[in-house]
């Protein structure tokens, strides 16, 4: 027995390693299939929309010979399948092409616009989660009370009010009238050009550069759009938390816990919420992924140069390199968040390990 034990441990380690290897391979395959599928669908949509991408380059008044030359330079005179193959070949070498609208390589643009969206989405999700989860729990615990009704109304407003209207109202009240928040944009003019971008996240770059003034200015600019986005996240998360908690509070183990004499606080926050947290992780991840797509209306109202505006502008001009690049980044974000959700499941629920 004393000899057999290490072998079994070796075998278990090997099996665990194999399981990890399989999981990684599965993830890589899923990522590849998702991205190629996304690229294919977006590419086809980009080619069938009734917008001439050459117009974005040459404008409305270029002579026909200029138009024809640019069309050929863009490869639009090739068969569709050949265009797609060329595009795939290029992106496999890391070349996503150039954006027509910004003239930059698409990856350079994404490195600039995505962090701006990431900042807002993260702030929004943090706000939505930190406020939405407790609200949802309280609403479930005090079901059908005034508090519950209020939380439901807050959720309903979040679902039904147009985000651009809420953004404008927030600006009108907190910027124009109360003077609590700075105006649109990521920074005041006085703070522009002080920090050299490293990550593209101003909040991080300003700290790296040791510029607390820039950090606080960037944070103050991000708060209002972050809270507006976060409100919509809050509406979704609080509603779902309430629903999950109601389900959990009706379970027998809750009755058993009460019979055991556990305090109500412990029952709610340690037992019921822990079980509700498993599906809640998916809800939060989905909400985060949705915000990462970029909320074009919020970005427009707050003059926030994020991925949503970039994608929308590109779509309207059939700037397909930019559209494809941004779509792939969003697709990759979804897959990554899915993976993180899976990992969180395993941490929260021992049955899934």
């Amino acid at each position: 027995m004393a000899v057999a034990a290490p072998r079994r441990q070796d075998g278990e380690r090997g099996a665990a390693a194999l399981r990890i290897l399989i999981a990684v391979a599965k993830f890589a395959a899923m990522l590849a299939v998702t991205l190629v599928g996304l690229a294919a669908v977006t590419f086809v949509i980009g080619r069938v929309v009734p917008i001439d991408p050459v117009l974005a380059v040459v404008g409305d008044r270029a002579p026909q010979r200029v138009y024809d030359r640019v069309r050929a330079e863009m490869g639009l005179d090739l068969p569709l399948i050949e265009q797609f193959w060329l595009y795939l070949s290029r992106i496999l070498t890391g070349d996503f092409g150039r954006s027509v609208l910004t003239t930059n390589p698409v990856l350079t643009d994404i490195a600039r616009y995505f962090p701006a969206t990431l900042e807002l989405a993260t702030l929004g999700t943090l706000f939505g989660t930190l406020v939405g989860v407790p609200l949802g729990v309280l609403a479930a615990v005090r079901r059908d009370t005034l508090l519950d009704q209020l939380v439901r109304v807050v959720g309903l407003i979040g679902y039904s009010v147009p985000i651009f209207w809420l953004g404008l109202m927030a600006l009108l009240v907190f910027y124009a009238r109360l003077d609590w928040a700075p105006g649109p944009g990521r920074l005041d003019i006085a703070y522009d050009y002080i920090v050299t971008p490293v990550t593209g996240l101003l909040l991080v770059d300003s700290l790296i550069a040791g510029e607390p003034g820039v950090f606080w200015n960037a944070l103050s600019h991000a708060m209002l759009p972050g809270l507006v986005l976060g409100y919509f996240s809050l509406a979704y998360i609080s509603r779902m938390t309430r629903s999950f908690m109601l389900h959990e509070l009706a379970q027998e183990y809750i009755v058993a816990a009460r019979v055991k004499g556990l305090s109500e606080t412990r029952i709610i926050w340690r037992h019921a919420l822990r079980n509700a947290a498993v599906p809640l992780v998916t809800v939060i991840a989905l909400s985060y992924a949705h915000l990462l797509e970029g909320s074009v209306l919020t970005e427009t109202v707050f003059a926030w140069p994020g991925l949503g505006s970039y994608l929308t502008n590109s779509l309207q001009s059939a700037d397909m390199n930019a559209v494809l690049g941004a779509t792939l980044v969003i697709g990759a974000s979804f897959v990554l968040l899915n993976l993180l959700s899976d990992i969180a499941y395993r941490l929260l629920d021992p049955r899934t390990r």
Binding site: V49, A62, P63, V66, T103, L172, A303
Partner: protein
Amino acid sequence: MMNCVRGLAAAGLMIAGLLLPAAPVAAETPRDTLVMAWQIDDIITLDPAEIFEFSASEIAGNTYERLIGYDLADVSKIFGVVAESWTVSEDGRTLSFKIRENKRFASGNPLTAEDVVFSLQRAVKLDKSPAFIIGQFGLTPANAEEKIRQTGDFTFELEMDKPYAPTFVLYCLTATVASVVDKDLVLANEVDGDLGYGWLKTNYAGSGPFMIRDWRASEVVVIEKNTAYTGPTGTLARVVYRHIGETATQRLLLEKGDIDIARNLGAEELDALASNPDILVQSAPKGTVYYLGLNQKNEHLAKPKVREALKYLVDYDTIAATVMKSLGTAHQAFLPKGMLGAVTDRPFRLDVAKAKALLADAGLPDGFKVTMDTRSQPVITGMAEAIQQTFAAGGVDLEIIPGDGKQTLTKYRARQHDIYIGQWGPDYQDPHTNAQTFASNPDNSDEGTTKTLAWRNAWDPGALNAETDAAILESDPAKRAAMYQDLQRKVMADGPFVIVLQQVEVAAVRKPVAGFVLGPSFDSNSVVMVTK
């Protein structure tokens, strides 16, 4: 319960905020910096040889110098900017220019005839969208070096294929594409013989009052004072053009003092600002005209009496007074007011009875059904809806097809529309720019390569083609003006265009900013003399 109370209090705070009077405001922008909110997401290049968009043209106008300029108050007055003087050869085919000797680029390099010749040759050789403006004198990438030739350190000649009207040539040389670039600097950044195109798309090599410091697409353009510039300027060290897409946001920023000028306010926002003593609304007529294009491939629209009837079914004055309040004036000729030969005749008024009679004469007593491709943009949509109502009064059932700008344009350029509602601005300050597109269509077949507005609407203007060509060879300005007046009246009477308005550009300027100029064209809007 306490939680409920706090929640209600928060809600109350939000509502109270709406009702609070506006907080006292104070301009917060630096004294030496002009901050402008503007929709600048149309910029795709900073190279003057390629710039053809409104925003980039204006930036170039403040940062580059051209050979020739014109008086913003009176476009008919032309003067030399980089050029000191010029002469026309006896056969009218060659213009000889003398260049001012005291000019320097922002790089410190002296500006000579070599730079001017290089700039014009480069624009023709690169053959980007606006190259035709100077290429139309018989210049091609193959002959540019032969036809545009340096004759001294500060002199050069421009040889053309025909004896074009000198004013026509000179006006073309006021366009952005004729800006002078720093040859040494541009060629120092040349890659694979691209004449510095890849570099200049995002960089600067000019001699204007300001130099471009930074451009972040759809976000900001920053220009700074060019210390090498010796002409008169205001007090600004820099100008920041911020892209603010939402017009309501522009208004808030202006009222708060976080910007000095808002460029894209709508009629409602301008109304709201009218009572603000800190804000001055400036306006200036622009060359852009709003029009309906009637596709002659549609069997009904191809009938002359139907075209005429539709011109009587638009309430020009009401549209100008309501939808386009402050942003346009009623106008019916293809040349905008202020341009050589422009007529201000307005033969058409809303007259439903007359329109019905014309439709009956055309064999359509019960009217007909037709579609109109319409950009989903507030002003255009508002105009379309107003026209839909008056068309209906005459029995014409107009279906509005909304779409994105480039989507509707794609359809228009493919001649697949019935009616297209659009706008057209001149490429340069000579009447030929609009005459060519509204009154000329040398090949009306689907394969036609000169896609003028007449072609897009499948209209064969017949004899007007020759008359348009003749007008650019007439050297007597008075006779030339008369030729354009005749062309306008003919197009007005029979053409497939219902020209509705001439655009007025408006800017809301916060005091104490002064000296901002809205010129007659988009590239002539100037911040050069601004003071704060």
